[in-house]
Amino acid sequence: MDRLSEVFGALADPTRRAILARLAEGEATVNQIAEPFPISLQAVSKHLKVLEKAGLITRGKEAQWRPCRLDAAPLREVANWVTTYQRFWEERYDELGAYLKQIQKEN
């Protein structure tokens, strides 16, 4: 799977989006992250693994205290792609509007 697909897949889950929103406020341990969710620590760990694999978070080295940190770069990549897509269509349709106007004037 390419990197963008991994990021899309990671973002498709509401729990993982909530985890990212939590980490946007600052680094946190697995226990701190798990606190607001009605799911097991194992389930949270699974979500963290998906986020880590997608490059959306990094984790500290210490064995006991392994705080998770947000890595914004892949998110920017996705946001850039979407912005580009939308901008392309806006520009394309603006151009079509102008072109239609022009050829109607000529005829």
């Binding site: 390419d2 929103a21 109607q104």
Partner: protein
Amino acid sequence: MPNNLTVTTPSDLEVKMVRVFDAPKALVFAAHAEPEHVKHWWGRGNPLDVEMDFRVGGNWRFVEHAPDGDWAFRGEYRDIQAPDRIVQTFEFEGMPGHICEETLELTEEGGKTTVTSVTRFDTKEERDGMIASGMSEGAGQSYDALADYLAKLS
């Protein structure tokens, strides 16, 4: 009637774009169907290479020569009902394998033509990625948090 592009999400796997053009339907259809027309607008003002075999089962490939590089797109025409409807696949060669299907529908009222384009994604993950990034106003509540968050990042 919207003059600018409006974007909504009618179903789980679809993104809909609507735009009104001040021209009759036959002309708007021709602007999509004939390479001589397409090359004048699809490239957003940039030079555009157009290869298109406009019939059901025919392929198209456009290469846009933009200042920031060449952008290549391709697809296949799946259904054509002149001058009302075109169904085609769409793939950005920079993201190969991410193929979506676009349905263009044209309706005319009072000399103006509404082009409704529905892009259908293969998987929910691909669409969610787009929606989560705040592309659409109609996105569900679950995406609001992330959209806010993305806005903070940029």
